[in-house]
Amino acid sequence: MTREGRTYIVSAIVEHKPGVLYSVSNMFRRRGFNIETITVGASEQKDLARLTVTIKGDERMVEQVVKQLQKLIDVVKVSILDPEYTVTRELALVKISTLDTKVRSDVINYTEIFKGHVVDVAHDSLVVEITGDSDKINAFIELMKPFGLKEIARTGITALSRGMKSARME
């Protein structure tokens, strides 16, 4: 189901054990909520993982998402992050063909401007690591297209609230 509306970032603390990602993603599928991005990894607390989901929708849908997530036994805490008080980051690895050697220096220049890193160099390609919000990564990818973009791997958004306001388990 595609939905219009703004993008929401939902941050959840979940039990760090097998099957939890399945039950979370299954709930989204079952209820017809569309996941734009999902990231999961260890949190600051032992045995708990932080799951960050971005979804597009209206307020009512997001309220249901939060409630349905909270209903899952392995989900410990859920919060919606306010974009104004949230740091969001995404990481992308971008492979560019550099058969044409003139391209190589252009790519390196752009990478510096975007504060990225060249993380792999081969005779015929470069891999660039770029971090930032999604718009910045989109912009970099657009720039690379004419050079012979080979492959892209993006992590999806991960996020934390700014300051002391936190989605921590009390």
Partner: protein, 558 residues
């Protein structure tokens, strides 16, 4: 700590949960558990199909208010439970399902009779577990019973790989539970109670909708006390039948697609609607966009996800129904000037009178037979139903007086539920008559458990309203598909009298209302299950009916 096998730890943990009975079928992957059961004082009732084991545990749970337990082996045994688990999930019934699985080393290898039952049941259980070692069994059993029976109740599944059943380890009981992510909110927020009270005080035409949550939380007394104080009539959902005695002047009967004329006319006239323990299912609300659009809605439910899901209330109260109703009552009793509401009550009386005049009950018609049946049943008799016309006729014409005496598959609408559920209910309440109101189509789906009923001496009465068709489908094809009857004729129906006798049960065919009543009286005294075959016309419709998607006061009556 005591050294024992996982299977022993399981049975010991169940005993500590005061489990008296398990409905199940053994198989290769649960042999170690059945070996322990051999010496145990927990009764095991051998069913003839795992679906019936799940439904029987569900019926047991609904009749008794306690957790029902069912068990099956791996693979097909486990998947056969699935319909019963889904049914319990939709109707918030607390059951614990135990399944065996292949030994740990074989999991994921597509071994013989391996099914990923944890994966299959994830969306239809409150939570589920696969046992990793014998040591954790007691803690997981404790957790399963706690989750199944608290908050909004529901099914929990525990999958036990065979070698965790035979593994010997030091087992500790009474080791509590760990659930960081599960804290049912049962106390109502005082501020929300205040808001609800404010609306109710100003109401001129208050109406209460009571759902299954009122029964689950044991709140019928609180409900009636509040209704009488407010002089607010009560409509129930199908699941809410039994939350209010249906002969009470404030009872409107069932609401919704096959609701009573009174309930469906009065509810939309409300200015303040108090909905308790209901999820505003499409079958209750009709067209949801316009449902009670002029009313201020107060919604009490223990499941936060139900509040605002289908209907956005003005006052949401996430709490246990009993505590919330009591809190509203306690707050109101201090300040409320009791109002006779003579105008509102007159309007309701007039509607009830109109309904009574429209009801034509005679001959071998289900409405007449069920009204006559009710007259001879004790108030605490337990009715289960199958699904379809038999169910809606029962809901409309069999008045319910006490909680947990009307047991029906509401959310999932599972044909074949009523009979095995009646067996579970009879096991839970051996001293009251239990009757399954069935259709021929539904009864055929689980009729093989007549063998269970006879072998285990669980006498129930099955009333088969036999029209030789899938009646509700036929009704829809008659009404909405221009009488193009597609695949509804059941053709050669078995002779239910002979069928019952073949299982060692008793069979009777009746040809008149008098014979019917005589047969029921005989069946209720019988020590063996009785199947009463009641031939009826295949042309009968269940009325009143609200067409799907229409507003609930757009009632068709024939």
């Amino acid at each position: 700590m005591v050294k024992m096998t996982g299977a022993k730890a399981l049975i010991e943990s169940l005993k500590r949960q005061k489990v008296e009975v398990i409905f199940g079928i053994p198989g290769g992957a649960v042999l170690p558990i059945y070996d322990v059961l051999y010496d145990s004082d927990i009764k095991h009732i051998l069913m003839r199909h795992e679906q019936c084991a799940a439904h029987a545990s569900d019926g047991y749970a609904r009749a008794s208010g306690r957790v029902g337990v069912c068990m099956a082996t791996s693979g097909p045994g486990a998947t056969n439970l699935v319909t019963g688990i889904a049914n319990a999930y939709m109707d918030s019934s607390p059951i614990v399902a135990l399944t065996g699985n292949v030994p740990r080393a074989f999991i994921g290898k597509d071994a013989f009779q391996e099914t990923d039952i944890v994966g299959v049941t994830t969306p239809i259980t409150k939570c589920n577990f696969q046992i990793k070692n014998a040591k954790e069994i007691s803690k997981i059993v404790n957790t399963a019973f706690y989750v199944a029976s608290t908050g909004r109740p529901g099914p929990v599944l525990i999958d036990l790989p065979k070698d965790t059943q035979t593994e010997v380890d030091d087992i500790e009981f009474d080791n509590g539970i760990i659930l960081r992510g599960y804290k049912p909110n049962i106390e109502p927020h005082p501020l929300q109670i205040e808001k609800a009270v404010k609306l109710l005080v100003q109401a001129e035409k208050p109406v209460i909708i009571a759902g299954g949550g009122v029964i689950t939380s044991g709140a019928p007394q609180e409900l009636l006390a509040l209704a009488e104080l407010l002089v607010a009539p009560i409509a129930t959902t199908l699941m809410g039948k039994g939350s209010v005695p249906e002969n009470h002047p404030l009872s409107l009967g069932m609401l919704g697609m096959h609701g009573t004329i009174t309930a469906n006319k009065i509810v939309p006239e409300a200015d303040v609607l108090l909905a308790v323990g209901t999820r505003f299912s499409d079958r209750s609300t009709g067209k949801v966009e316009t449902f009670c659009r002029d009313a201020k809605i107060i919604h009490i439910d223990i499941d936060a996800a139900e509040v605002g899901k289908n209907i956005r209330p003005h006052v949401p109260i996430v709490a246990d129904a009993k505590l919330a109703l009591k809190a509203i009552y306690d707050r109101l009793i201090k300040s409320f000037n009791k109002n006779e509401r003579s105008l509102w009550m007159n309007r309701i009386q007039e509607q009830k009178k109109q309904q009574a005049e429209m009801e034509n009950k005679d001959g071998m018609t289900p409405p007449h037979l069920l009204v006559e049946l009710r007259k001879i049943l004790p108030q605490d008799a337990i009715i289960t139903t199958e699904v379809g016309q038999n169910q809606m006729w029962s809901a409309l014409y069999l008045k319910t007086y006490k909680p947990r005496t009307f047991i029906s598959s509401g959310g999932l609408g599972t044909m074949g539920f009523g009979f095995p559920a009646s067996l579970g209910a009879k096991v839970a309440c051996p001293d009251v008559p239990v009757l399954d109101i069935a259709g021929d189509g539904s009864f055929i789906m689980t009729e093989q458990d007549l063998a269970t009923s006879v072998s285990w001496n669980i006498p129930v009465t099955v009333i088969v309203l036999n029209n030789s068709v899938l009646g509700m489908v036929a009704q829809w094809q008659r009404m909405f598909y221009n009488r193009r009857y597609s695949a509804i004729d059941l053709g050669k129906i078995p002779d239910f009298v002979k069928l019952a006798e073949a299982y060692g049960a008793q069979g009777v065919r009746v040809g008149s209302p008098e014979e019917f009543i005589k047969a029921v009286k005989m069946a209720m005294k019988s020590e063996v299950t009785t199947v009463i075959d009641v031939p009826i016309s295949s042309e009968q419709n269940v009325f009143p009916m609200v067409p799907p998607g229409a507003e609930i006061d757009k009632i068709m009556i024939g």
